[in-house]
């Protein structure tokens, strides 16, 4: 590697790091401001530029009657819905992906690739329009404004991602491994659970991460399909957006809402750096 390449590499990485970090730093400093320090001109450093203030953070745990949004319960709701829906999506999606990767399906002109595309295509539809039928559908089965109802809808959102990632992953796992398991006396289920699955953990982790991310950041369905019983985090946070946009508390909430996923990022990175993400099997 030439010196020029190394220089460019560090140069580019530095620029990107600044770009990635900048909005977070801005959010961090903004979260300690109030109406006057936001609107009085641009300031950066607490105590030097402006008098820091914890109100932006306090709002997140105060009750609405005190002018807060109290995100504690929604936080756990969001965690529960996201994790459960991700788990179910991963289970169902992995099974389907395995079938699509290993076996041939044919129904008229429909083949494996078409079925895979059918799964993925569920993500094309703009959510706005789907929200109405989902509303009626959940209303009919009495699951509106419930955690289960949201989980049901999120499965539709997340399973396509799981299928897509896992089909790709299984395609890289040599099918001879499954065949060997069959020859060694496993029936197809045993082959899947005893041999294929243990070797797919890196793929499952990536798929799981994407499911969790896409579940965690959804706002729209959570917004339309809940009323008073169940509130998810993004919906609750957006409810901070009153006539005055409270830069301070929205900044604090942006930081709070990304926190649990940073843990996920570390887990994923651990698998990445082990180098066995999809290279476990040669």
């Amino acid at each position: 590697m030439g010196k020029l390449y190394t220089f460019l590499k560090y140069f580019f990485i530095t620029i990107w790091t600044v770009f990635v970090v900048a909005p977070f730093l801005w959010a961090l400093t903004t979260s300690f401001k109030d109406f006057n320090s936001v609107n009085g001109g641009v300031t950066y450093i607490p105590w030097v530029d402006f008098e820091p203030n914890l109100e932006g953070w306090r709002v997140l745990i105060k009750s609405p009657a005190e002018g807060g949004v109290d995100i504690v319960e929604p936080y756990f709701n969001s965690l529960f819905v996201t994790c459960t829906a991700s788990l179910i999506s991963i289970i169902l999606g992995t099974l389907s992906a395995y079938a699509l990767s290993r076996y041939t399906f044919k129904a008229g002109p429909i083949k494996n690739n078409d079925i895979t595309f059918f799964f993925i295509s569920q993500r094309i539809m703009p959510p706005i329009v789907l929200s109405i039928p989902f509303f009626l559908f959940l209303g009919a089965v009495n699951l509106l404004d419930s955690l289960i109802g949201l989980i049901v809808v999120y499965i539709v959102l997340l399973m396509p991602i799981a299928v897509w990632i896992m089909v790709d992953f299984f395609n890289k796992v040599p099918r001879e491994i499954d065949e060997t398991a069959l020859i060694d006396g496993c029936n197809p289920y045993q082959a899947f659970f005893k041999v294929v699955l243990p070797n797919s953990i890196p793929g499952l982790i990536v798929a799981g991460m994407f499911c969790i991310i896409f579940g965690w950041i959804d706002f729209f369905f959570a917004f339309i399909l809940t009323f008073t019983e169940v509130q998810l985090l993004p919906v609750k946070i957006v409810a901070l957006n009153s006539s005055i946009t409270p830069w301070w508390s929205l900044s604090a909430s942006a930081l709070v809402s990304v926190a649990p996923l940073i843990v996920v990022a570390f887990i994923v990175e651990r698998y990445l750096s082990k180098g066995n993400l999809s290279g476990a099997i040669k």
């Binding site: 065949e179 060997t180 069959l182 041999v195 070797n199």
Partner: protein
Amino acid sequence: MNLVGENLSYKLTEELQLRKISFNFEKGKLYTILGRTLSGKTTLLKTIAGLLMPDSGTIKFEGKNFLEIPVWERNIAMVYQQFINYPHLNVFENIAFPLKQRGLDPQKINEEVFNSLKLVGLEGYEKRKIQELSGGQQQRVSVARSLVKNAKILLLDEPLVNLDYKLREQLREEFKNIFINGLSEESIVIFSTTDPREAMELNGEVIVLDEGKVLQVGAAKEIFENPKNLKVAAISNDPPMNILKAEIDSNKIKFENIEIDIPDHLSKIKDKNFNFGIRASDVELNDNGFEFEVELAEISGSETLLHLTRGNAKIITSIEEVMDFKIRDKVKINFKSNKAYAFDETGNLASSPFGGSSV
């Protein structure tokens, strides 16, 4: 009580299919399936294993319809050309896997696993992870796993092809011993390969496969000495046998302005035009010979392979020493005509130096 297949057909793709294959494998014997890449060797083995369901035809084993028995109940073993093991398990667990699957008691499993570890020379490696082993060791593990089951049918799909030359030689020798020592009289061993030398060395019954069809079945020596037709001749020799379009005229074999005296065993040929076949090793350098031009010279081990042309004739000769040739060099060669083969215009063997003939 044999493994009998009849008229097996299976279409995977246009170029990869089995066309009405029949066979009869007897217990206690070693069979070698010899064929080029895409000839259908793996497909045939997988069909026998039960991983593929033939479109038509039958397989019977011990009198039962084998096709009705799912893979996992067939009691077979298979070794792939890729080194297939279970990456999440260590060496011991890998080899123990089929036994655990059968529900043997741990004591027994332990015993069996260590026996087969010994057999493949991997004692002391049982705790290792698969990824920490070399390619040859990985393949030994998968062989051990296939032996430990004491399967009635052992399928080996080009198990040596991905190993380097030296290791291949060594393992081939070991395998022969392993098969002889490690298998009971009850077992059928089917070994597939593209390498004719391997087939000869294993010295079992050889089935020559090409484009999904069985071309010839017979003892290794028989195949080598009397290839039934041009294709078999090509497949069963490495480098493939040289074939030249020739004609017989007044007791001479003529091609490209070359005239060779007709050897005895070819004198019976009636057709004027025929295919003259001669192995690369039966062409020798000779200053009094015919002049050819060097097209390519490759050195492989202690051999030198010369690709030569003269007019439309292209031949390969192997010389048992390392020699330095340049492209477009002129060389003179002679043919050991007493080792020559004749194939008729349709490609069938007309006469061989070992007495085979269609006449």
